[in-house]
């Protein structure tokens, strides 16, 4: 049971990390969305 929960948590975390990575890539493709400091 403990192992199953651990695996579930790991899968959830993996999915979240992957979703973030996709979002970040999408954000990079869009117009610069940042405060100008250069």
């Amino acid at each position: 049971m403990i192992l199953l929960n651990w695996i579930k948590r790991k899968i959830k975390k993996f999915k979240e990390d992957r979703a973030f990575k996709k979002k970040l890539e999408e954000l990079r493709k869009r117009d610069p969305f940042r405060y100008k400091n250069f």
């Binding site: 979240e16 973030f20 940042r34 400091n37």
Partner: protein
């Protein structure tokens, strides 16, 4: 002595003319180009300022540039050198853009060959805040994203002197942190910070505050920010990396996505962290200057909630009408105390207005009414639930509409906020509107120690009668209006009070979605015709759409 003040190439380009210590004219470039926060060289603003002052460019004795390009270049080059491979293309892009941004070359092409004096970015902020303040001595706190190296300074102003005491350098920046989380929440940095402030009272600050605070390392007088979750030093695309996500465990929001409770919690936490750090700076400013007065400057001085915290440590708090980079064009020119009004932009005579109205005569009915009757009529319209666009005299300088380019409505109608947000301005429903109140009666309605002529302080209200101007937490970003500051607007609010018992009007800038504040009568009429605003008043002309 005629000085031309300029700010450009960062945010909010602007220009001004100062003649013998008096500010004659000032305007932001965005008003002429229609591009919000236009950061290009302010050619149009300069041309208008020169024409308003009745001079030629060769009459100008000195140009005062609001920052030091050399020091800024040093900061950028040093930053890029930390990660030379990662910033290789960015560095090339920067060097290319730098060539076309030399103030000397641009001014020479306009016919100016005289002296150019460069000031430090944060000095220009401090000078604008202090020299336009009512104090003979004061602490001065400036906070923004970044100037050359500095992101935060504490100075003391005594007489006509400003002495810098403490500075905090890039990449440690409260302004950059606020902008990063603004971007993370799906709002545009350097613009959406208002939205984050407006969203904050809907959230629970306990959720992310500790996580964000864990990034700070505070010493007795300064703060340092852990840079590992941020890309401020090496990217011009996004401002954060996966470490920020790992810290927050919240996905960044795209602008088109729904705002969830988590986003509101993050906004609330960010605002709380900002207030905690800002409070520490205020304590430092108090301890080292021992002053009872404080002037606040820099873009972060638009954070009215944080500004009000200053009353915990100081008897009197002053924030100028354009504390961001636009105001620095004026600040750079000042070296002594001045009396200044925020109404420094273009104005239009009745003849000019009539000429413009005539172009639209098939679409509108026009009535020219004497001032007293007009005030009485407009007050009745507002108290009766109408939305009125109010275009008078000289345009305001700075981000706030202070009663010369405003959309006005009754704050007593509970549905007015929704109507203005969704129907007129087509913006997010959570965003609050500011109340303008007569200076004689502000204490009757608001918990305020002193006046707030430039909408720079957020305070609690005593009144339950102004629901449309009250935010969810019972706060309001108040403008107090005196007869001396703006007599016609003061007269209008007084008349509204005589008729309804409440001398308060809901005041928002005269622009529609994604537009800059209205500049000309022609823009005013076009915007009026394309919106659901009920009446338009330009000078003493009352304009109504034909049915």
């Amino acid at each position: 002595m005629i000085k031309l003040g300029i700010s450009a190439f960062y945010h909010d380009s602007a220009a001004c003319i100062v003649k013998d210590g008096k500010v004659i004219a000032a305007a932001e470039e965005e008003r002429f180009t229609g591009i919000k926060h236009d950061n290009r060289f302010p050619v149009n603003a300069i041309k208008w300022c020169i024409s308003e002052a009745g001079i030629h460019i060769y009459n100008i004795n000195e140009v005062h540039w609001y920052e030091s390009p050399e020091k800024k270049d040093n900061r950028i080059s040093t930053t890029f050198a930390k990660k030379p491979f990662r910033t290789f293309f960015l560095n090339r892009k920067y060097k290319k853009s730098k060539k076309s941004q030399d103030p000397k070359d641009i001014l020479e092409s306009m016919g100016y060959t005289g002296k150019i004096i460069y000031h430090d970015h944060h000095y220009s902020h401090a000078a604008f805040s202090y020299y336009t303040s009512p104090y003979d001595s004061a602490a001065i706190l400036t906070v923004d994203g970044v100037g050359e190296w500095e992101t935060t300074t504490i100075s003391i102003g005594e007489g006509n002197n400003i002495q810098k005491l403490i500075s905090i350098d890039f990449p440690n920046s409260l302004g950059m942190l606020y902008s990063t989380i603004t971007a993370y929440l799906g709002f545009k940095p350097n613009e959406g910070e208002y939205k984050v402030m407006g969203l904050a009272p809907y959230g629970n600050p306990d959720i992310y505050t500790d996580k964000l605070l864990s990034l700070f390392n505070n010493t007795s007088n300064k703060y340092f920010i852990d840079q590992s979750p941020f890309t401020w030093e090496y990217s011009d695309k996004v401002m954060f990396n996966k470490k920020l996500f790992k810290l927050l465990r919240l996905q960044p929001r795209f602008p088109e996505e729904e705002i969830t409770q988590n986003h509101k919690d993050l906004a609330a936490s960010l605002q709380k962290v900002y207030e905690i750090q800002f409070n520490k700076l205020l304590i430092t400013a108090k301890n080292i200057t021992k002053s009872n007065n404080i002037c606040i400057g820099g873009g972060c001085a638009y954070n009215g909630v944080a500004n009000s915290i200053a009353y915990k440590h100081f008897d009197s708090v002053y924030t100028p009408f354009a504390p961001s980079d636009a105001g620095s064009a004026i600040g750079a020119c000042l070296n002594e105390k001045v009396n200044i009004s925020p109404y420094l932009g273009p104005s239009f005579s009745d003849i000019e207005v009539k000429k413009e109205i005539d172009k639209f005569k098939s679409q509108v009915n026009v009535f020219k009414i004497n001032e007293d009757k007009l005030i009485n009529k407009v007050a009745r319209l507002i108290n009766g639930g109408c939305i009125v666009a109010w275009f008078q005299g000289s345009m305001e300088f700075g981000a706030r509409a202070l009663g010369n380019r405003s959309i006005l409505a009754s704050p007593t109608d509970p549905k007015m906020r929704e109507k203005l947000n969704y129907v007129i301005k087509k913006r997010e429903g959570f965003r609050p509107f500011a109340p303008s109140v007569t200076e004689e009666r502000y204490q009757q309605f608001f918990q305020m120690k002193e006046t707030s002529p430039y909408m720079s302080k957020v305070v609690k209200t005593h009144s339950k009668n102004i629901p449309s101007a009250t935010h969810i937490d019972g706060s309001c970003r108040v403008q107090t209006v005196s007869k001396k500051q703006n007599s016609k607007f003061h007269k209008l609010i007084t008349e509204i009070g005589s008729q309804s018992g409440i001398p308060i009007v809901l005041n928002t800038s005269f622009n529609l979605k994604d537009q800059t504040i209205t500049l000309t009568p022609s823009d005013a009429i076009e915007r009026y015709l394309s919106s659901q605003i009920d009446f338009l008043i330009i000078n003493n002309y009352l304009i109504q759409k034909k049915k």
